[in-house]
Symmetry: D2
């Protein structure tokens, strides 16, 4: 299967290796608690401290948000929308939860494959 | 070609016809002026006063944002992420503009085809 | 709305203009008659006599097949799957028709926008 | 991470369990040897002996073809294109290989998640 890379696969490496992993790793940014049947926003950002390139031959193509085995949404990134400079791509998903969530974001770099965030648990209350 | 429906195609119709058009029509919500080379957020909402169904056999499948002939981004909507009740789907795109924008949103309902928003002009300044 | 270019928009132009249009125009290749409730294959080819580039900054991104207002299918083209040289991209859709079809293919070039094929009528018999 | 189910995860189960796995599992059908820089067709079929449903609330949504960590292509399946009865969905990808391939297909069922085929090795010769 295509490997799903995580930051942890690289965090014992050199500084350069860790920067490579940082700029590729999607991070989920959202509240840890929300209310049932109410729109809930989840931001995904690629990279924490290191910006990823956005060149014609090296860029991110899509971001998916998953809740366990269920696809929550997918955003197709058009490279030219983000200019020519390295950047932190940020995007937002909305869902209306019924039960608690175990969210993960997966993003595809056309040169370095699939990268997955850490899992985020969101408690959904009445 | 597949027809691209707009609210105006229906606004001389009966109240029922106008509600049909309202609930299908994407609306762009954003500032009318922004700064070059800076991330700019554009919200798209489907429906102004009337909520669209979100049933297994009747729901919105994707939203595209266009700047004239250039695709800015595309969001694949997963029906089950939005529950069972009619709703106003809202989603957000980010782009980094170099020049002024003429934005339009196009959305696809699996039962009633392609719908397009009004065009929004955004002035981009240095 | 984003313009939907056709070959006919350009066929009174110079030889160079016609070549520009040729290499961008999707063409539907299929039988003109088929049987209800039976898988039916529809090939779409981009370009008739002139090959389109497949460079990192100039390539086709997706092909959609439409039956009037209904989306039949969509293929996301990964540029790197097609090498570096200009080519005729060919792809295939399958559908199981219930009634006669009015097919059109739409394809998106990241530099020159949306292009639409001629409509093809397919008679569907019992 | 979202689980990637394979037929082997279920093949020690009851007949019913094996049928569940069969109808969900994508299978790659292609030659095992091909020629460099020449279009190569890869068929993907979902299910070997048992047909998968195609109901509004239970159907396949997309098929991706991967070559190790590189996405070869993606087909968005429109449910209504395939009628109401269970079926073997078949689709075709084309690529122009430079080096030997290790292909896998991944498909997403909106109710039962991501399923992955066995890996197929294709030798690419001059």
């Amino acid at each position: 299967m295509p490997r799903l890379f995580t930051y942890k696969d690289f965090d014992s490496g050199s500084e350069k290796v860790k920067q490579y992993a940082d700029k590729h790793t999607p991070v989920i940014i959202c509240e840890r608690e929300t209310t049932r049947n109410t729109p809930f926003n989840v931001k995904v950002r690629i990279g924490t401290n290191v910006k990823h390139p956005n060149a014609p031959d090296h860029h991110y193509e899509y971001i998916q948000l998953w809740n366990l085995e269920t696809l929550v949404g997918e955003i197709r990134l058009q490279r030219s929308s983000y200019g020519e400079k390295p950047l932190f791509i940020e995007t937002e998903f909305t869902l209306i939860p019924k039960v608690s969530l175990r969210l993960e974001a997966i993003a595809y770099c056309n040169r370095h494959g699939l990268w997955i965030s850490e899992e985020v648990f969101v408690k959904v209350k009445d």
